[in-house]
Symmetry: C2
Subunit: 121 residues, 2 copies
């Protein structure tokens, strides 16, 4: 086994594309992914799983059909399974996603914003 920690800043320096989560680590059948967001995403939901967001830098807004949450650096939020949501970042956001291996970023909606899955960094 590898006795080195995973450093978020070092990993963030390795890529610059937005909305393309990269896998950092696995916890059983869950994955920790790091991602940069900027601008608007699509409405989607994940019928089979909750989805956890931890913001490292910036401010992420997640819109719901009946409201919104704003998540800043040092904050987290869990979107329950089946709840439609749309992430929005007015400026660049750097964050972690934690969810089961194989969860697509566009949920059950798919489409052109669907990122490649299981891309490690």
């Amino acid at each position: 086994m590898d006795y080195r920690p995973i450093n978020f800043r070092q990993k963030l320096a390795l890529f610059d594309d937005r909305w393309a989560p990269k896998v950092l680590a696995e916890l059983n059948d869950y994955q920790f992914k790091i991602v940069k967001l900027e601008g608007d995403f699509i409405w989607h939901d994940h019928q089979d799983t909750d989805e956890a967001f931890i913001v490292l830098e910036g401010e992420l807004r997640i819109d719901f059909r009946d409201g919104a949450v704003t998540i800043g650096a040092g904050e987290m939020f869990v979107v329950p399974k089946g709840v439609e949501h749309k992430p929005y970042a007015a400026r660049e956001v750097k964050m972690l996603l934690i969810e089961p291996r194989g969860t697509p970023n566009t949920g059950d909606q798919g489409g052109e914003r669907t990122a490649a899955n299981d891309v490690w960094i």
Copy 2:
């Protein structure tokens, strides 16, 4: 549903006991716990699950039978299931633990350092 983010600093201000993880949120059958560590813990392992550590403040060392890893703020590490480990914090460490609901802090070893489980904050 509650549209407020979970703020780590706010939660950390609510308690001061060490080695007593508090649950912040659930992701399916996994829990995000926040904990303060200081000093030495016991050797233990978790036969049935990996265990993820994300350090928020301070520097955590985890000893293994054949080495050690040092995890600083903004870093994470996953201890694989079945691997004996002993956390150590020379000074106070504030961190997140992510693991399945019901995972005891002392793993399969138990004993007097076993913290109450499923304590929410």
